[in-house]
Amino acid sequence: MAIEPAVVSPATLAEAYAIAARGAHRPVAGGTDLLVQITGGIGPPPDRVLDLWRLDELRGISVRDGALELGALTTFSEIRASVACREDAPALVEAAATIGAAQIQNRGTLGGNVMNASPAGDTLPVLLALDAELVVGGETGERTIPAAAFWPAYRRTAIRPDELLVRIRLPLVADRRQRFRKVGTRRAQAISKVVIALAWRGDPGSGTWREVRVALGSVAATPIRAAAAEAALEGERPTESTAERAVAALVGELRPIDDVRSTAAYRREVAGRVLRRLVRDEGRW
């Protein structure tokens, strides 16, 4: 049954920081997670809500200091429409296109996806694969947390209660390639059974892969990187035998669970099969 908590809607980030510093406020961006949680009675309802929607300081997509920067309030629709994203973060564009449907993409934000910290958050493996840096801020200033350290445990983040997520930085890397694949129950409005993002630097001469990242969602309590699969691909060319080694490594290292959406056995197997397909596409065999 719905209840309505008190809501404050500051107009500047400084005000928002001040409110966050007083504690006991739950931020809300697009509200596409939070409102569902409140009306569904999932977890204790917040007493007070800090509405971020008016903070234009948290909006905008730009290339700055060698990184593609996205404000925390960037919506999935904005990501889909952004030329900069399409150029430098095509996997993020693909991920954004799979989230919910048009209404959710218009309202849901990248920052909300990051902060909701669901193991099924579709952009999170992309952020891991692209070595994203998450810039958080508060009255004491800003700090940067690497994506790899941002989701320490189930639905936990490395942020402090008095901090807000400000922006997401995706360092620009020459010759980096990216792939993305989501496996859901239906073609829209589906939470992932498995989501996988792959990134690497292709050596233009030898065709070998460097700085390989294999990141997955919905296969563990947090979004994860698959270290063994990455190691199997690192320094190799995308051949069939490399793919088989990487798939075996991946299937060996994943520990997914059975839940209401899928089974552990399917998740493990499908992650391997999708990885094989992605490598096959690149190796053209």
Binding site: V183, Q189, R276
Partner: protein
């Protein structure tokens, strides 16, 4: 398609009567109704699958003066939700047995939702756990059993060239009407209550109110609000909610609103019955099926509800639309400690016909015959005899729908192509195409003697002020009752459709025309409506000597009102013997064929249903747009049933009882549906209609599963055919558990706390 105009025959596709109000947002659904001073009601439910209720504790620290509390002790009449059996309580009494996880135990009402929410948290149920039963095959409580026999099955199997055996399992399915269940009860000045609600069957609720509240017919008044879909899901549970709202309204002497949210609706209200069906089929090399031995078990859930009738339909349809000389079908429905299952579009037939069709496809494969030819060989023809010894005397269109579907889909040609590409398949291929066929029959109207016992009535009146009005309890839920009835009456009377009114579905105004279920509205009640109109026309024309259309206003002015009450008259030559369970199980059958084309992702085994050709024999088309709408909607619902819709249970509780986790197809998942309507009329009604609502639901799932097989080579025996099940069949990973059967949490299992 074209429909020839002829006298007395409805033509064209007039606008839906309730359409404009729905499109402009002015239609009043239950939650839109405002009753000043109304309170909000809520239900306290059990959280255990089986237990003895020891006490209901109200926290003494809470101010209960602001809240009305109703328990079983406050029920003035029988503590029973009137249905086939008197086993389901309105509220579990202290000392009584809780039989499922969502069972109502107490009711609360308050002036505002906030108080109600707080009060909910201050109610504690004290219980003593009892061992639950989740596996239907382990259940010892039988709700119903039917045995059908024709010929000599053992001899038939012995004489067969080949015997094929298979077991098929299907899980729950949620109706997922767009509007949740909702009822509002208002105390009546003269005692009793008026209940407004979202419902299919006003007189079911009426009967339940009379018995539970011990009030007379006039004191129980039921009014249907605009209803956003039903699909069977508002056939029985509204009686429960109506009683709950009424008990609170009588206690508070105020209007009380019981508006379910989606979570409560999914968690507590009825679903399609899970089933386990085992087939042994004897077949000759030439494709003749000579014996069918079928064993069918339905999981009824915790209470009887309509399960015996669902079982009866499931059993009669279990062999599929085939004339087999030796048949034995044994059907039984059992109790488990899960929420009760009930009516849902198809009513048992989709379960048993999925099994029958998939089995026949496996039989065809075993003898190397095409799925089309094996059906051509065995399908019922005129004069065919069914397992209840019914002789099919007319309107037999199995062959026609089959051939039309095969032709429109180019089944043979596409199948050659899919076989070729299967032969050439390499790991480089990302997807595989497949095509699949299914054929079904669906008994029109109630099973057996149901209609004769129901004794339905419809009235058509010419009022003193010259208005022609239909009075019926048949409800509109978006399927078209309010449009087709005026069409039928207007055609009979020679009037424009606008000249015919429909009285509101209010038990104080309209007679009991029976429930709006079993695809009986167009055929049975529609037929009675025409009969009533005909009698009205004859009466008026007899007096005026002129055609009705030009004389009825004068007649009303001169003669005053004329009202014709038309009771159901059994169809000539149609009879059923309940004792032996033989005879005409249905006055007529509808016939349907579907050809599905799918594309299966070879990495993930996700299935995209690309197209379905749906050919349905509905007897007569009354309104082509509405009729096609029924076929399209039913087909899509069947696609969901086939591919993704599944309830998973833990300790008897539905795990996916939210729209986030119970998924149905979206617009993106919907195939292109080509509908072909065939008219093979039922001679027993003036307009020939046989109904359409349920028919398409029977064929979609087996067609899709056959197409998945054609694409991948895997037979999926369990519905839904999820990627998990397909991958298990092809790659050998662990399959998911059986559909519809609850898993047991480690704690319960360790305690030995279940009768498995």
């Amino acid at each position: 398609m074209t429909i020839a105009a002829r006298p007395g025959r409805a033509v064209g596709a007039p606008l839906r009567r309730e359409g404009p109000a729905k499109l402009t947002g002015t239609a009043l659904y239950t939650d839109d109704l405002v009753f000043p001073g109304g309170w909000y009601g809520t239900t306290i439910r059990s959280t255990e699958p089986r237990a003895r209720l020891v006490a209901i504790d109200l926290d003494p620290a809470f101010d209960w003066s602001r809240v009305a509390v109703v328990t079983a002790d406050d029920i003035p009449g029988d503590n029973v939700v009137a249905s086939i059996a008197a086993d389901q309580p309105i509220l579990v009494p202290v000392g009584g047995e809780i039989r499922h996880q969502a069972e109502p135990v107490a009711l609360l009402a308050a002036a505002d939702r906030e108080t109600l929410r707080e009060a909910r948290l201050r109610v504690r149920l004290r219980t003593e756990a009892l061992p639950p039963v989740f596996d239907p095959l382990a259940s010892t409580v039988e709700f119903a059993r039917y045995d059908l026999a024709k010929g000599d099955v053992d001899a038939g199997l012995a004489s067969a060239d080949l015997v094929v055996q298979g077991t098929y399992r299907v899980g729950h399915q949620e109706q997922l009407y767009i509007e949740n269940n909702a009822m509002i009860a208002v105390p009546r000045a003269g005692g009793g209550v008026i209940v407004h609600g979202s419902l299919q069957c006003p007189y079911y609720v009426h009967k339940a109110l009379k018995r539970g509240l011990r009030i007379g017919s006039e004191q129980a008044q039921v009014v249907q609000a605009e209803t956003g879909g039903g699909f069977g899901g508002k056939e029985e549970y509204p009686s429960m909610i109506g009683l709950h709202a009424a008990l609170l309204a009588l206690r508070t002497q105020r209007p009380v609103r019981m508006i379910y949210d989606r979570h409560e609706d999914l968690a507590a209200t009825t679903k399609r019955h899970p089933a386990i069906v085992t087939h042994r089929t004897g077949v000759m090399r030439d494709g003749r099926v000579v014996a069918q031995d079928i064993d069918l078990v339905l999981d009824g859930g915790a209470y009887t509800t309509l399960t015996p009738v669902v079982l009866s339909r499931a059993t009669i349809h279990a062999g599929g639309p085939y004339d087999i000389p030796n048949v034995r079908i044994r059907g039984r429905a059992v109790m488990t400690n899960t929420p009760p299952n009930g009516a849902f579009r198809g009513f048992g037939a989709p379960q048993s016909e999925f099994a029958a069709e998939t089995q026949l496809n496996r039989v065809a494969e075993a003898i190397g015959m095409s799925p089309l030819d094996v059906r051509r060989r065995n399908v019922y023809r005129l004069g065919g005899i069914t397992p209840t010894q019914q002789v099919l005397r007319g309107g037999v269109a199995g062959e026609e729908v089959l051939e039309r579907a095969a032709e429109a889909s180019e089944f043979d040609r596409v199948r050659v192509r899919t076989a070729e590409s299967r032969g050439r398949r390499s790991p480089r291929d990302r997807t595989a195409r497949g095509i699949g066929l299914a054929l079904a029959w669906h008994g029109a109207g109630f099973t057996g003697s149901g209609e004769a016992k129901m004794g339905s009535v419809v009235s058509v009146e010419l009022s003193g002020d010259g208005v022609v009005r239909i009075l019926t309890a048949s409800t509109e839920m978006g399927q078209g009752t309010k449009t087709i009835f005026p069409q039928l009456v207007a055609a009979e009377l020679g009037l424009p459709i606008e000249a015919v009114e429909m009285a509101p579905q209010d038990t104080a105004l309209v007679p009991d025309s029976g429930p709006t279920v079993a695809s009986r509205t167009a055929m049975v009640v529609g037929g009675m409506t025409i009969q009533a109109a005909r009698r009205l026309r004859e009466a008026v024309e007899g007096r005026t000597g002129r055609p009705f259309a030009t004389s009825y206003r004068d007649d009303a002015a001169d003669h005053g009102a004329t009202r014709i009450d038309q009771a159901f008259e059994p169809y000539p030559g149609v009879g059923f013997d309940d004792a032996t369970y033989t005879g005409d199980a249905y006055p007529a059958f509808g016939w349907a064929a579907a050809v599905a084309e799918v594309e299966v992702d070879l990495d993930t085994f996700e299935v995209a249903v690309r197209s379905i050709v749906a050919v349905d024999d509905v007897g007569r088309v009354i309104h082509p747009v509405l009729c096609e709408g029924q076929v399209e909607g039913g087909t899509l619902q069947a696609v969901g049933y086939a591919t993704i819709e599944e309830i998973k249970l833990l300790d008897g509780r539905y795990l996916n009882d939210r729209l986030q986790t119970y998924l149905i197809p979206t617009a993106l998942d919907a195939p292109r549906i080509e509908t072909i309507l065939v008219e093979s009329p039922f001679a027993g009604v003036p307009h020939g209609a046989k109904g359409v609502g349920e028919l398409p639901m029977d064929v979609g799932a087996p067609a899709v599963v056959a197409a998945i097989h054609d694409a991948t080579g895997a037979w999926i025996h369990d519905l839904p055919a999820t990627p998990e099940r397909i991958m298990a069949a092809l790659v050998g990973i662990d399959p998911p558990g059986p559909p519809g059967i609850s898993t047991v949490s480690p704690r319960r299992a360790a305690d030995g706390d279940t009768e498995r």
